[in-house]
Subunit: 454 residues, 2 copies
Amino acid sequence: MTLSLIDTLFSRRQRLAKLIHFPAILWSGTSTPRNFPANVFPYRASSHFLYFAGLPLPNAAIRLEAGKLELFIDDPKPSSALWHGITPSREQIATQIGADAAYPMAELASRTEGAATIAVQDAATWTSQTQMLDRMVLPQVAPQGIDLELAKAIVTLRLTHDQGALAELCSAATVSVEAHKAGMAAVKTAKMEAEVRAAMESVIIAHNMKTSYNSIVTVHGEVLHNEEYHHPIQPGDLLLADVGAETANGWAADITRTFPTSGKFSSTQRDIYDLVLAAHDACIAAIHPGVEYADIHLLACKTIAQGLVDLGILRGQAEDLVEKDVHAMFFPHGIGHLLGLDVHDMEDLGDLAGYEEGRERSSRFGLGYLRLNRPLRPGMLVTIEPGFYQVPAILNSAREQYQYLINWERLEQFVDVRGIRIEDDVLVTNTGAEVLTQALPTTASKIEELVTKV
Amino acid sequence: MTLSLIDTLFSRRQRLAKLIHFPAILWSGTSTPRNFPANVFPYRASSHFLYFAGLPLPNAAIRLEAGKLELFIDDPKPSSALWHGITPSREQIATQIGADAAYPMAELASRTEGAATIAVQDAATWTSQTQMLDRMVLPQVAPQGIDLELAKAIVTLRLTHDQGALAELCSAATVSVEAHKAGMAAVKTAKMEAEVRAAMESVIIAHNMKTSYNSIVTVHGEVLHNEEYHHPIQPGDLLLADVGAETANGWAADITRTFPTSGKFSSTQRDIYDLVLAAHDACIAAIHPGVEYADIHLLACKTIAQGLVDLGILRGQAEDLVEKDVHAMFFPHGIGHLLGLDVHDMEDLGDLAGYEEGRERSSRFGLGYLRLNRPLRPGMLVTIEPGFYQVPAILNSAREQYQYLINWERLEQFVDVRGIRIEDDVLVTNTGAEVLTQALPTTASKIEELVTKV
């Protein structure tokens, strides 16, 4: 049985009403100009608005109080039909989302007293939030007072996903899986990274979705935030593709696969691939309600450290190497993050969502980049994304710090492994974990098959 | 012989130096957050910066004075190499663009005295412009004083394109032509508009370019600013695709074609298509240096009015119908606009670029939407994009106003023609015009061939 949008939204605001005892106003935001005002970036509504309003309505606001939803939006101007065609009226939208009342935007000014809010990202709207609430509301400034209380309440709700959210998240995952298959099918004939990216994003566009973040599609997987696509694809390269879809209503997927561009891993590439996959599988197997996500991260670190010892790249005991952060020379980022309406869910609130109250980021290089540090609960959706990278900047510093713990001569034999990551979207269930992206194979041989099958 | 980037930029700032006698500082801008700060829209540098700096450098500024170029940009932080890999140093960039000097961003504060600027679009940067120049610099507010003088000087330069610009514009045109061919090849098997869009944008992405504006790909061409892609494609539909590429350095193309989704225009669709094409061809043939663009617009209006009279849809004399704005019931927009670094070139400056000094927008419905009103000069690049649309909101008002001038019964026979537009990018030359997008056929039979050839 699937709940309707109206029921889903109703239930979300009832749950909110149990957590806060003041009104909340959430603005949707407006389009952001690109190079001139009329040429805007594709509109993205604020995630907090989407959670309670369900639809990506531009220039709208909702007021939530005691489980009631008031919608504020202007009817399209008569002249709008000329350029934009017939668009739904305020009343039609109100019906669609089950609003208890609906008003023109101008009415909102008289309904702001005592209301909390969360800053949206676009300047036009946070300026308006600041004016209407008569206090600074800025996306760069952490919320305070009732705004902080509201943020915490929303975090509580959004940390675990309801049926309505899961339907959207599964749909984003399904399309992302198809995109990755298209990428694997395209890589053997592609001459440049951009061509593989095109094959992948084309699937997402064809399903009328967007990318939930700027895709990484590169033969230089060791550049972790690589958003360039101009490198030629050479025989023997590995291509790392970190690409995810976002549904029309804003729910995200986030998948990474690394595949051999010629259809066959070299033996060194396969050794490291299998090691990263072992970490990936171990982490997913360890996911259960009550387990600390930081322990999942440490499990990945240990698995990678042990694997590198077994391959002769590291020297020593895995536990000890992890304590010394030696694993982080090859796996410098966290094992994953929350996933929901945002690809790093609720990261607009800093670490409020990612970190359990009272916990702070570690200053250790091997732990500080962890984006999630909470005990897992059923309904949480997290990514699991171990990796292995040879980042020149990191290895240079490691040469001094870990001269004897790393077998540099042995490492040289793995020069054709610049960067590997395997990432899936994993739902915490009552009994363990469900991989929403499991339709996309992970094993080296299956990946080779998909690349070669063209 | 093609000029190097360095020579092109050198020449541009020498010409600027002849027009203004004060320093100008142009900021490039920064990435704009989408749903949270780290998840940004793809970076787009300010067009004015791109014109003089040549490269889409984020978080940079240039200071132009007496033909000299000073570059202000910070070297990448050491930690940046960890996530972003090796990126060019300030000195390397300075060499690449032929800067006369290069400094860290912090040095700019001491070099702002008496400098003019143009507001960029992103809030973080215009806030910084405002602070550093100690006056309000806002993209929503028309420039004044020396800022206005600078804007006018830049308009003078950017109105006509140099060799460096034309090379980029041709490259954008070439990729856009391929994208449209891919759309035509995809339409017969596509079930939804989004699939055709995917085929087209995939070509643009594969060439490592971006779309220069949000694509219009729709079977409802009568909705002029349609940015939805969810409609099913039905037999007998026409699909209107308005899609253009933008090069990595920011130069745009802008092409529209309308094609029969089943590979064959109906006789009514073909009648109107040929009429729109006649207007398109007549306008291009009329383009010469010295000709008023507004007269090109009127030529399109008259050609369309005459054609509609010939088809029995309008009653009366073409000239008279145009004077009464009856043509605008079916062709409500202008014949085109400037094209360059922006798809509506320099529209961030309002009508400063589009309208010759002393001219203002007409209040007439049939003329007021014209974006360009200047005599044509060699080196100007304009779009020519006549169309025919049955917009319900417009026709409803026309029923009262033009009851007898429109043969409503005859019009009913054209119910399968909702919207047609044919748009090309046309360079004004010394002797007439050169169509940069001419590799893409326009005739109905050639279009049918491209759709059917799959």
